[in-house]
């Protein structure tokens, strides 16, 4: 639709340009001839004939340029066309006027002014040609830009999708393994875990088509994840969530906090054989939602940055793709506590 529409507008534009050339040139030439004391009826006949032929030539070149769009280094061809059409126009004018006018004196003037008529034709046809070339190149450029931005958008969406998906397989298979273990020993717990896992996965799938969700929904989803992790890791895990009242009406990218919690559990759990306390603190610092997750951290036996950070890196990448900023995820260590903070810009309304 868009394409045929632009073509139609283009032809309309060409037509109106030709009409403008016809009317404009008729007036200008009549005025000039009249100025040089040519009888008015001769001036009008000459001007109408000349203007018609220039307009037709302009129409021809505009159409030709629509079907043949010269490369950047082929503009000389266009110039040749212009000169050719202008010369042809001049001779057509001469020939037509010889048929219409029988005043010998004036015919001599026409013959004499042939180069001037050719020049005028070149200018008019050339103007038309330039207008068309510019129009074409601008259009192809904007089309190219649109294609580029479309491609970028697709790539971005695919990457966001992948980042969300990558978090699942380990968690899923390990949870299934836990369920298998529970079936014999604690069938009720196994059942419960199947339902929890189903709810969690459903949430993950549903959230694929909506980027942003209310904080409460994200927290509910996080709780499901946590319940499953508690079954896997048992009593050792204690997660405390503190949400500031003012932060309840906020939104955030779906599932952005889960990899952070996963990371905290992974690296918190293994540094002690005792109970592990993970703190989730959420507050509003207008216009930003601040989510902070803290876990105990053993500096001595820590994993290297590279291997510990897939979850964190994927969150950082998602935040960058969504907001175009690299500073929205920060980590720091304080007295054997690892703190990761994400800052979520809130929409304005």
């Amino acid at each position: 639709m868009g394409f045929s529409q632009t073509i139609q507008t283009k032809f309309k534009l060409i037509l109106w340009s030709c009409i403008a050339i016809f009317l404009g040139w008729t007036c200008i030439q009549t005025f000039i001839l009249f100025w040089y004391d040519i009888p008015i009826y001769l001036a009008i006949i000459d001007s109408v004939v000349s203007a018609s032929i220039y307009a037709i030539s302009s129409y021809v070149i505009a159409n030709a340029l629509h079907y043949y769009q010269p490369e950047k280094d082929r503009y000389s061809y266009v110039l040749v066309w212009i000169i050719f059409l202008a010369s042809l126009s001049a001779f057509c004018i001469k020939w037509s006027l010889q048929l219409l006018i029988h005043n010998e004196d004036y015919l001599a003037v026409i013959l004499h002014s042939l180069p001037l008529r050719g020049l005028a034709g070149s200018l008019l046809i050339g103007g038309m040609a330039i207008m068309n070339v510019l129009w074409n190149s601008q259009k192809s450029q904007s089309e190219q830009e649109k294609r580029k931005s479309d491609a970028e958008k697709l790539a971005r969406e695919a990457e966001l999708y992948n980042l969300r998906q990558q978090l699942q397989p380990h968690f899923l298979f390990n949870s299934l393994n836990s369920i298998v273990a529970l079936i014999g020993r604690q069938p009720e717990t196994a059942k419960k875990m199947v339902f929890q896992l189903s709810d969690f996965l459903r949430g993950t799938l549903r959230k694929d088509d909506q980027q942003f969700i209310p904080l409460q929904e994200e927290l509910d989803h996080l709780q499901l994840y946590l319940d499953i992790e508690k079954v896997r890791f048992g009593h050792r895990l204690d997660v405390r969530t503190h949400v500031d009242e003012r932060a309840t009406d906020t939104v955030l990218p779906a599932m952005i906090t889960q990899p952070l919690l996963e990371n905290a559990i992974k690296y918190g759990l293994y540094d002690t054989t005792g109970k592990v306390i993970i703190d989730i603190k959420i507050h509003l610092q207008a216009p930003f939602l601040i989510v902070q997750i803290e876990n105990p951290y053993d500096i001595e036996n820590t994993l290297s940055k590279k291997s510990s950070g897939f979850g964190l890196r994927s969150v950082q990448r998602r935040l960058f793709l969504l907001y175009g900023r690299t500073d929205l995820l920060q980590t720091k260590t304080e007295n054997h506590t690892f703190i990761v903070t994400i800052t979520i810009p809130q929409p304005h309304d």
Binding site: N177, S178, F233, G234, E300
Partner: protein, 245 residues
């Protein structure tokens, strides 16, 4: 009785192996380990013949644990996710079990173990070699002293020196003996950071304070911690290249 260990960070994952193994009276589970640190102790203490080893464990992965054992027993890996490295197991490990682990699959792995018990140690050694070949530059060194495990991030290393069959890893917090070879470290440490300047020395180039001529054809590198390291005739150009001269 076949002495067996189960190493996995998830209690339920361990219990499933325990359940399956209950039907095989010839296997005796000596201990269940929650992480690599416990495992090192348990392996030294019990000298198991078979280990069920989880790959994805924090702190030390199953692979890393394997590398620091002097005489690793037969291994059956357990893992949630197929990874590239698993291909190596086809040839060398007894087997690997993908989670969730089915009884059928578990039985087959055990049959495989029972049917060719003898050359297991060689197999595991070969596996370790394969893993090492595939590896990119290491980021830390794991050192086992007796039954305790020490993790040294490579940023902490000042230099390495040959010490009989061992390699002495020198850090600000002291020296640690590794059972790996100089050749291993030379090929597994990033050559942009570490240079083998002598048959017996690998130094971290950002620790160098100055380089002095010493005797004929040789030099000495003075390090930040005042250590003076011999730089051999062949080591000197390598060092100069790494330093960008």
């Amino acid at each position: 009785m076949i002495k067996t260990l189960i190493i996995d960070d998830e209690p339920l994952a361990r219990s499933i192996i325990k359940d399956y193994l209950a039907q095989y009276p010839e296997f005796e589970i000596l201990q269940e380990c929650n992480d690599g640190f416990e495992a090192v102790k348990a392996i030294a203490e019990h000298q198991p013949e078979l280990i069920f080893l989880d790959i994805q464990m924090p702190k030390i992965s199953g692979f890393e644990l394997l590398e620091i054992l002097e005489s690793p027993p037969a291994i059956i890996f357990t893992t949630a996710f197929e990874e590239f490295a698993l291909r190596a197991f086809e040839q060398h490990a007894i087997d690997y079990l993908l989670k969730p682990i089915s009884k059928d699959r578990f039985d087959r792995a055990l049959q495989k173990y029972l049917s060719n018990k003898v050359p297991q140690q060689d197999k595991t050694k070969k596996l370790i070699n394969t893993l090492q070949e595939n590896k990119t530059y290491i980021e830390r060194i794991l050192i086992k002293t007796g039954t305790t495990l020490k993790i040294i991030p490579i940023e902490k290393i000042i230099y390495l020196s040959a010490d009989d069959d061992y390699v002495n890893v020198h850090t600000d917090n002291g020296d640690f003996l590794s059972n790996k070879t100089m050749t291993y470290f030379e090929s597994h440490l990033d050559p942009a950071v570490f240079v083998r300047v002598h048959r017996s020395f690998i130094i971290r180039i950002d620790q160098i304070v100055r380089i002095d001529p010493y005797e004929r054809d040789s030099h000495r590198a003075i390090l930040r911690n005042k250590a003076s390291i011999n730089v051999s005739k062949s080591g000197y150009p390598k060092l100069m290249k790494a330093l960008g001269n």
